[in-house]
Amino acid sequence: MEKPMKKKSIALAGNPNSGKTTLFNELTGARQHVGNYPGVTVEKKEGYLTHNGSELHIVDLPGTYSLTAYSEDEVVARDWLTESRPVGVINIVDAANLERNLYLTVQLLEMKLPICVSLNMIDAAKIRGITIDADKLSNLLGIPVVPTIARTGKGKNKLMDKVLKLSRDKRGNNAFKISYGDDLDNALMEMETIIRKADLLTENWPARWIGVKYLENDAHVIEKGDKVNLEVSEQLKAITQKVARHLDATLDTYPEALIADYRYGYISGILKQGVVQRRKDANRLQLSDKVDKIVTNRILGPLIMIAVVYGLYHFTFTYSEIPISWFERFFEILNGFVSDRSPDGLFKSLVTSGIIDGVGGVLGFVPLIMFMFFGIALLEDSGYLARVAFMLDRVFSAFGLHGSSVMAFIVSGGIAGGCAVPGVMATRTLKSRRERLATLLTVPFMNCGAKLPVMALLIGAFFAENQATMMLIITLISWGGALLTAKLLRSTVIQGPSTPFVMELPPYRLPTLKGLFIHTWERTWQYIKKAGTVILGISVLLWALMTFPQLPLSQLEIFNQQKAVVMQAASPAVTQELETEALVFSAETAMLRRKLATLDGQEAEAALRYSVAGRIGIVLEPVSQLAGFDWRTNIALVGGFAAKEVVISTLGTAYSLGNVDPEAADSLSDTLKNAPGWSPLVALSLIIFTIFYAPCFITVVCIAREAGSWKWGAFSVIFNTTLAFTLAVAVFQIGTAGGFLGG
């Protein structure tokens, strides 16, 4: 293992969409990995680079527009810069969008960090008629400025030369200072004296910067100040209050606003000194804007969006089928191989049903996740995802969500047949915490591909005349339920004002293949590594629940005796034929086989009933009867926690049908239609329950990982099941009372 501590650390800082990650990929190539910053769900990307014999540790900080205490990303970036004391900071700025990008530069300079500016995408700027005098900019800011084109790697060696020189000189532009006007400058001078005298936080930050943060009411810095020296901190707050009152009275503004005004004023001042030459008007419509006229048009926009979203969906679920079928085939063969070579019994059952099915379950999602991340990265990097959020925000914000939530819903099965596992992971494109959490918790209500066979079975058995209508109703119920639940969560457990939408619509760009592949691979690997182990463990646990305790010997004996009786009743010719592997049997042998299969089925039913899962099902029956479910349904629903399609195979076992193929469950469908205790009303109640109850445990693991706490994983299990049960009981009781649907 390479030890990051011994190497010189270089940080990459910059706005989102400035080409920061592209530059990071260009610098580190495959020598990178993704983790998390301690305690938060913000991704930490780091990698290594050897330049001129120096081994460098490179950290790609989250893309931010500023360094305030409002967003997790910004706090993480700021804290890392403070605590890790990088020897150099590469500040990537978009040359075509210099004014806003320099806002962050100015803040980095105020922190007195050793900065080198990478003036990126100069090619794109040139196309837009913008040329920038890098030397002049460098002189005015007092720091090195290197023109680069991250996607081709142009300028990166010169950039690294400058960064290394910076790290050797061990200093940035220490003389950098922005004037904030007389009122604030005087306040800052007073504050600086107090801060220096008391040595308040000065080991972390420059005194003037701390003063600015007090004026800006920065919650994090003030909290730290309070902890270290409350008395001095109070003095600083008093100065802020005094100057704030004065500004309010004289200029009708407040310190925070004035500081931003002056920062932008400083930047404009620099740019006006001949740094930027424009051949075209800055606000003239560019190609990207012309595309937007069509793509976000009132009528065409939504149509194009439906096409693109459907395309993503099709891409994810259709093309991933091929590699998924390879995986499935591989695990089938492996299963068959182990089955053939090990004696019947617990060990074999553990290996085949517990471990191989578990590993297969984990890896079976891999192609899906890869395709989903690839598709979303494509939309995100090209700039289209921001437009989707823009167009749909009005709808989703009404339910306390964000325009960007839509992708997660679609992937999870908003178009019936998705999967909540990649859906939950797709919430990463959401930057606002509360909206993201509400999305995470409601996407499992969508109709994933595993719920579909269950729905198909119940609809086929009880609503055969109205199949299409029922499917539509189910889709509407899951969407309606998800959005209303989101609203409910956002006004209760995830209460709080909506995060400001204020979002950049970046110019459309062609994503780099390298970036797409690295992005896709990182996410997928994270899933395998982190979720994989947990999922395997739970898979084995569920297997144990449905296997233990085993039928007592006395009962097994009864089944064996019955089988023996059947065998003895048959003629020797028939029993001999049974041993062969003939494709077609004689009528008598076929009869014998059916009888034996029936007995096997009954034995499996008895075993399931005897297991922990079976006992849970039976114990719960008095309660579940309120929704119309008997113990068989209960066990099937417990099994559905492993994966929703398991509901079918478990129901099959519970009805003594042996192994039922979820794709061809005709026999089960017939059985349910005629079984006592079933009616269209029970089926409807079960459909409602299946839509809303606990997500499969793979999804639960992913929710816990994405939300950063197991608390939310547990919440989704308990809350969803309670909600589902309440709804199912309501449907069943109202139906029974009103005599609807045979109730």
Partner: protein
């Protein structure tokens, strides 16, 4: 010249920001993205459901919700 609320601005209309009357996170975000006093903005378009709005400011495109635009007062030429 007249004062108006940003929500009232029409597509392709330009104006100069006179004041942004909101503190806290929203105020901070708006200012970080370059919406400060005296800056010129042009409404570039609106989402199909009329909300959010897309603005051209300082040479890039920024979108915000109508209820966020409410805090921004703009001076526009008739």
């Amino acid at each position: 010249m007249s004062l108006t609320n940003m929500r009232q601005m029409k597509v392709n209309q330009s104006g100069t920001i006179v004041s942004i009357k909101v503190a806290g996170e929203l105020g901070r975000r708006l200012r970080d993205m370059g919406l400060t006093r005296g800056v010129e903005v042009t409404v570039q378009g609106r989402a199909p459901l009329f909300d959010p709005v897309a603005l051209r400011v300082r040479g890039f495109t920024l979108s915000l919700r109508n209820n966020e635009a409410d805090y921004i007062e703009v001076e526009v030429s008739e």
